[in-house]
């Protein structure tokens, strides 16, 4: 149970709770509150992983989501996590952690032999090889693919439960460090509401120890006060364990909460991860900065870590990675690590600084503690097999060389402010020489950056400057007054410096194993070679060498490479631009993005009031738009075909009922209704009589059919128009658009009443009989209630609307009752129709019946390129008025020879239905010769005719009636058939009359 690298009494971990976990099948111990990274370090695991390309040993470099090396496969109970950065997940009892990218084991990895061939892996290696012979590429590709990718996805269901939360606030502050607290304090005083976001599980982890953070007592006291003020304020909301994922237009932010914690609750109602969608007036980035690695040979050996991460592991988790620590740096800020260590009685063996001079105060302190400082030197090379054990250093002028032993090399090559959110949203950066970094050029669209994210690394200065920046949110006069009223104790008195450092080896082509991006194994050589190949622009260089395309998206590497590129091209960093980072900054599970929008919640389900009855009567449903509609009702062990045939024959011979409630119903009311309908539909409505119905097509202004339905005149200036089931909402939007944007002088209003009415469509020769039984007070005789007319009645004050229309070709009454009474009247219909052999029928039978009659289904017999002329509805097109689509239909092309026209087809093989989508050619053509004349749009077996029938769109089809044609289906079977008029049953329409 010994944790060899753990220091007593330090950090915010729960030492009373020991945790067992497994790393590569080895049982280890750590404490509650550890991350995988701190737990591994505590147990002496410096070497944690293998690199992706050359399988080089790698260890932890960072402490946060910029960690490039330690990517793990994690499971706990049945929950599985892939591609987890060891720094980005907390440790739990019985967690199983596996390192990836090696075989057979981390220690002994056969693939590390790849290193021997590394000299052949030039940038763009695959682009330049595997071309010959052509035929083998797909084989090569499979092999190459196997070497790529990090974790392995297991196919078991994801057991995590995701939720989404929406919120809004005045100011969203990312980070809870010193500058964030100062900013929050200030804006709370203006009366703003704030949300503060912390990726750690505790508030302000970097300011745990206020006592030791400030040397000045006044600062200490004032900061404690403002921190308390922020924490206790009622307008403060704090989200812990939360990361800002992306910053988008109009201050819309997505955040992920709890992606690094495991929910051990048994409850089914507590989510594992929450995707927050927050809209704020302003977003403030106080997320700090990321420390950059140094460049030298073997700079990727385990044991080489960022100086800041060593401080964090020490302060936060009570862990030190090793005993013999050396610091290699180019700046004064990184010395903080030494002071943190000294506080705990740990010394460092040496400091190598590339600068000639360092801050005097620091120098004095180091000398007091007998720490050797080697100035104006650089590290040339690190040695070690799986851990660093020594380094070669040289004076910058190359005159002196020496070797130093070490077990940990802390490095700092300056800091990259978190500017990615700004860049994601289209922001630009500028290079600031004194800190050797890019800082955001803020605009009114971008977030506000403070503290390290603004390139301000001094503690006191970041507190004061954040305060000052918050004043830009208020009136200028007020701001001027406030400028000097508070936080005056915070002044930068340190004068720390950072000096740009690039090793001289960058000018030498024969350099090996200097890695500029750990995760993608991109080396300095790769960069230099690619530049020679002409990739001199950052974005091209990045895509070509793949740096910054790993899981951490180049957070640790991008700037180092920019500086290299600038230097090699002899340009200023400003002149070469910067990497265009893309959202998200911190990755999120696809599951979290989807939230609960899966299965039944993927898309809303719409059901009619009769739905349960359908279910009880063995309906098999189909999706029609969002609706669930019965496709057919299965009786006993019927096949679908048997059910459909039975239903069809019942309609033709006795009476069948279909639930047509899903048909779109829109009421059009107002004095200009006629004029409106005249424009919307091709037919003329001017002389239409009350209680009459009219069938029409709806055209877009290009003249194409996009919906159809029956229009009934209920009253003067009051119409009900029907649409297809799936087209209802599109049609309503369409009508609204014309009415409001084009014809706003029309006094017409629209109302969707689809859900208000349940439509019981009673079809068949006995439907009059049945309807009369249902509504005894209504005269259903042909004289009183002719085809294409409408009647209203009521039963016990329940209004009833009856339309005599027909989509089956039979005598039909479409009975509309208020939805609350839908089930009642449906039941009554079946009760009264029992002795008439009443049958419910579904959409498939409906399709067969209408196809027998040649009635089109929009979207099946039309496809967006079909006009009313093509389907033979030319009579519908009024000549005496304008309507949508009219002008387009006047174009000569639509009247030319060669348009496809709707026809019927009777297959020679009348017993079998032709495959849907079969194509039509001239009788003497072959499969690959001759023009395609058209295709089958609808193909059914007609039980009443006892033969198969089809509708088709065929070039000049009307002129070909009676001709035999070749029909080729998708299996390239040849069939033959005869073109007919598009009507097969009751051609004169006697039955529906």
């Amino acid at each position: 149970m010994k944790q060899i690298n753990r220091i007593n009494n330090l950090g915010l971990i729960n030492r009373s709770k020991l945790i067992e976990f497994y790393f590569n099948d080895k049982k280890l111990y750590a404490f509650e509150g550890d991350t995988l990274a701190s737990a591994l370090l505590a147990n002496g695991f410096i070497f944690t992983s293998r690199s992706i390309k050359y399988h080089r040993p790698r260890g932890l470099f960072a402490h946060d989501i910029s960690e490039p090396n330690s990517i793990m496969q994690v499971s706990i109970e049945d929950k599985e996590f892939i591609n987890v950065q060891a720094t980005d997940i907390y440790l739990y009892n019985n967690m199983v952690i596996k390192s990836i990218n090696h075989w057979p084991s981390l220690d002994f990895d056969i693939f590390s032999l790849k290193r021997i061939f590394s000299k052949f892996f030039l940038p763009g290696f695959i682009y330049k090889t595997f071309m010959y012979p052509r035929l083998l590429w797909d084989f090569y590709e499979k092999l190459i693919r196997k070497t790529k990718g990090f974790g392995k996805l297991k196919l078991e269901e994801d057991l995590l439960r995701y939720e989404k939360k929406h919120s809004n606030t005045d100011i969203l502050i990312i980070g809870t460090g010193p500058s964030a607290i100062s900013f929050a304090y200030s804006v709370l005083k203006f009366g703003y509401k704030i949300i503060m976001v912390e990726q750690d599980s505790i508030f302000s982890p970097t300011m745990l120890d206020i006592e030791n953070s400030f040397t000045d007592d006044k600062q200490k006291n004032e900061f404690s006060q403002i921190k308390d003020y922020v924490l206790k304020h009622s307008n403060t909301t704090i989200l812990l364990n939360t990361k800002l994922s992306s910053f988008n237009d109009h201050n819309f932010s997505t955040l992920i909460q709890n992606s690094s914690v495991i929910n051990l609750s048994e409850s089914n109602y507590s989510p594992d991860q929450i995707l927050w969608k927050i809209r704020s007036t302003k977003v403030v980035i106080a997320a700090g900065a990321i420390e950059r690695p140094m460049l030298f040979e073997n700079n990727d050996l385990p044991g080489i870590m960022s100086s800041k991460s060593i401080s964090m592991y020490l302060n936060r988790y009570g862990v030190i990675p090793g005993k013999n620590i050396v610091l290699y740096t180019n700046n004064d800020y990184s010395y903080q690590m030494i002071f943190d260590l000294l506080k705990n009685g740990i010394s460092v063996s040496a400091v190598i600084d590339v600068r000639k001079n360092i801050n005097d105060e620091i120098l004095v302190k180091l000398q007091k503690n007998n720490i050797k400082v080697i100035l104006h030197h650089e590290v040339i090379k690190a040695y070690g097999n799986k851990f660093i054990n020594k380094i070669d250093i040289s004076s910058i002028d190359k005159k002196e060389k020496t070797t130093i032993k070490c077990s940990v090399l802390a490095v700092s090559n300056g800091y990259t402010p978190i500017n990615q959110y700004h860049v994601q949203s289209g922001g630009l950066l500028s290079y600031k020489e004194e800190i050797d970094s890019f800082v955001p050029i803020e605009t009114k669209f971008s977030p506000i950056h403070i503290g390290g994210s603004a390139g301000i690394f001094d503690l006191a200065e970041s507190i004061k400057s954040a305060y000052l920046k918050s004043l830009t949110l208020i009136d200028k006069k007020m701001a001027d007054l406030k400028k000097t009223s508070e936080l005056n104790n915070f002044k930068n008195t340190n004068n720390y410096s950072i000096s740009k450092y690039l090793p001289s080896v960058i000018y030498n082509m024969n350099t090996k194993n200097i890695f500029v991006d750990y995760q993608t194994d991109t080396s300095l050589f790769d960069i230099k070679y690619a530049i020679k190949e002409g990739f001199i622009f950052v974005d091209q260089l990045r895509r070509y060498t793949l740096f910054g395309t790993g899981i951490e998206q180049g957070k640790h590497s991008n700037d180092n490479i920019l500086f290299l590129l600038a230097d090699i091209l002899d340009l200023k960093p400003d002149q070469i631009g910067h990497v265009k980072s893309r959202p998200p900054f911190s990755s999120i599970n696809f599951g979290a993005i989807s939230g609960r929008s899966n299965n039944e919640f993927f898309d809303p389900i719409r059901i009619t009031p009769i739905h349960n009855w359908h279910k009880q009567n063995n309906a098999i449903f189909e999706n029609v738009g969002q609706w669930k509609r019965p496709l057919y009702y299965q009786k006993f062990n019927e096949s679908m075909e048997e059910s459909v045939n039975r239903e069809c024959l019942a309609v033709r011979n006795s009476v069948g009922v279909i639930d047509a409630s899903t048909l779109g119903k829109i009421e059009v009311v107002g004095p200009d209704s006629i004029e409106f309908l005249n424009m919307i539909y091709p037919n003329k409505f001017t002389n239409m009589k009350i209680a009459k119905c009219k069938y029409s097509l709806m055209l877009n202004d290009e003249g194409m059919i996009f919906d159809d339905g029956v229009i009934a005149k209920l009253d003067e200036n009051h119409y009900l128009i029907h649409t297809t089931s799936s087209g209802a909402s599109t049609v309503l939007d369409w009508l609204d658009q014309w009415l409001q944007t084009e014809w706003d002088h029309f006094n017409v209003s629209l109302r969707s009443v689809t859900d208000k009415w349940t439509t019981i469509s009673v079809n068949g020769p006995k439907s009059r009989d049945l309807a009369s039984r249902l509504f005894e007070n209504v005269d259903f005789s042909n004289e009183s209630f002719p085809f294409m007319s409408y009647k209203e009645t009521s039963v016990d004050d329940i209004p009833i609307r009856i339309f005599r229309v027909s989509f089956s070709g039979e005598l039909c009454f479409e009975i509309n009752v208020p939805s609350n009474y839908g089930q009642y009247f449906w039941d009554k219909t079946f009760e009264l129709g029992r002795d008439l052999s009443i049958v419910p029928y579904g959409t498939e039978a409906m399709h067969v019946l209408r196809a027998e009659k040649g009635f089109i289904i929009v979207g099946q017999d039309t496809d967006g390129s079909v006009t009313p002329i093509d389907i033979g509805a030319i009579k519908m097109l009024s000549k005496s008025k304008d309507f949508l689509g009219k002008r387009s239909l006047d174009r000569p092309y639509f009247h030319e020879n060669g348009r496809k026209q709707l026809v019927g087809i009777l297959p020679d093989d009348f017993k079998n239905r032709i495959y849907d989508g079969a194509h039509i050619k001239n009788i003497n053509d072959e499969i690959l010769t001759g023009d395609i004349l058209g295709h089958i749009t609808s193909s059914y077996f007609s039980p009443i005719l006892n033969k198969s029938i089809a509708l088709a769109l065929v070039k000049n089809g009307n002129a070909m009636i009676g001709q035999k044609v070749l029909i080729i289906d998708m299996n390239l079977n040849k069939n033959y058939g005869t073109i007919t008029k598009p009507v097969f049953y009751d051609e004169k329409g006697v039955k529906q009359q």
């Binding site: 695959i126 790993g550 899981i551 999120i588």
Partner: protein
């Protein structure tokens, strides 16, 4: 063939081995950075895949090598480097399918043609149907493809499952799978490789690629174009070919004609790289999403275009939410995979989702635009027919239907109206 196309620096496994010992032996400039000459035979505006392919085929098929390719930004950093790499030719209408099929055939040997591995991998492209009507539409398209000599097969859900064991064909999901078309020769081509490979070849041929060269105006006299004004000075040429997705309207304005084009963001996103789990490309029109796994292991997901026009190259998060849900419906285990990067390309959408490749009302000015979401897969085919159009001052038989005048006559080739899948 023009003998300038044979160059001494050629990549192969042998040259790479040699290069391992002597790095400079195979060093070859991929992207040259030149200053413009005063006069060219042809200026191609737009250094995307289409523009570079046009220059390549002008040289290869028509012997024209005095060409400048003028690019406002950088090679490979527009839509050419920002797409989902899918190639296929199983379009519904004969006109489209023949053009894309020509392109697919050119892809087949492009690596060898330009001596740069563009990684055309025949993973197979599945287009799923989620309703009876979609199944009918797929059957129709499969039949049409076969009759046009394009490989295409229809699969039942069970057959789909045999190809892709990880797909969810349960009838219990909201929109179950009814069937699919499969084009086995469909697959992916590595987008960056196309950019680098064409740029390198053009450099070898002697074509000038001018990066960061922004065209300020066309120089037009008496309705004849003879040059361009750029931030690098005026450049003259006898013919000017425009292939600039996202800026087509601007060039039309310079030529004082109008285009039926709207520019929309088109988003795509990738997961973190994982070990191989999905070989083919899966597209689903009904749920507006498609997915494949890139050779680096990332799951690449795309959606339909964002609804409103925009040049910001940023899209709406809701598009990502909806399409990600759709992909999880198809592949429930993908829920565990993490989103790594999202981006938006800029596509020019025409009323019938088909391109315009034609002469323009301005003499010697040619335009190639309106590819919508289908541009990448057409890269070599588009370049081939556009080069023909420019060289001969008349369209190639394959791009004749894709004329300007079709909007006047109404003779559209309606791919989206006809439920042809979008991507």
């Amino acid at each position: 063939m023009n003998n300038k196309l044979n160059t001494k620096n050629s990549y192969s496994i042998f040259s790479i081995i040699k290069g391992g010992f002597n790095k400079n032996s195979i060093l070859d400039i991929s992207i040259s950075n030149k200053t413009p000459k005063k006069q060219y035979d042809v200026i191609v505006i737009g250094g995307g895949g289409h523009g570079m392919a046009t220059a390549y085929y002008l040289a290869k098929n028509h012997g024209i090598t005095n060409i400048a390719v003028v690019e406002k930004g950088l090679i490979g950093r527009g839509n050419t480097g920002r797409n989902t790499q899918v190639v296929r030719s199983n379009y519904l209408w004969t006109e489209s399918s023949l053009l894309y099929e020509h392109s697919l055939k050119l892809w087949n040997n492009l690596s060898q043609d330009i001596n740069f591995n563009v990684m055309y991998t025949k993973r197979g492209v599945f287009s799923l149907a989620h309703s009876y009507q979609e199944a009918r539409d797929v059957a129709r398209r499969v039949t049409a493809n076969k009759l046009n000599g394009i490989d295409s097969i229809y699969l039942t859900p069970k057959e789909i499952k045999d190809y892709i064991p990880i797909i969810n064909i349960s009838p219990k999901v909201r929109y179950p799978i009814f069937g699919a078309s499969l084009q086995k020769r469909g697959g992916t081509v590595h987008h960056d490789a196309v950019a680098w490979g064409l740029a390198r070849r053009l450099n070898q041929i002697g074509v000038d690629i001018l990066q960061n060269c922004e065209v300020k105006n066309l120089i037009i006299k008496n309705n004849i174009v003879n040059g361009i004004e750029t931030n690098k000075g005026d450049i003259f040429a006898s013919k000017i070919a425009v292939a600039v997705a996202g800026s087509s309207t601007r060039f039309a304005e310079m030529g004082k004609f109008k285009l039926p084009i709207e520019s929309h963001p088109l988003q795509a996103w990738v997961s973190e790289p994982i070990k191989p789990i999905l070989n083919p490309v899966i597209m689903s029109n009904a749920v507006h999403a498609y997915v494949s796994q890139a050779e680096k292991g990332e799951l690449v997901i795309g959606a339909g275009i964002d609804k409103y026009i925009g040049y910001s190259q940023r899209g709406s998060f809701s598009v990502i939410e909806n399409a990600t849900s759709a992909i999880i419906e198809l592949f429930p285990s993908f829920s565990k995979v993490k989103l790594l990067r999202t981006w938006a390309g800029l596509v020019d959408v025409s009323p019938d989702a088909c391109p315009i490749i034609d002469l323009t009302p301005v003499k010697n000015l040619y335009i190639n635009c309106g590819w919508g979401t289908g541009g990448f897969k057409a890269t070599p085919g588009s370049g081939y027919v556009f080069a023909h159009t420019v060289a001969n001052n008349e369209p190639h038989v394959l791009n004749e239907p894709f004329s300007f005048t079709r909007f006047e006559s109404g003779k559209l080739i309606d791919e989206h109206g006809a439920a042809g899948v979008a991507h």
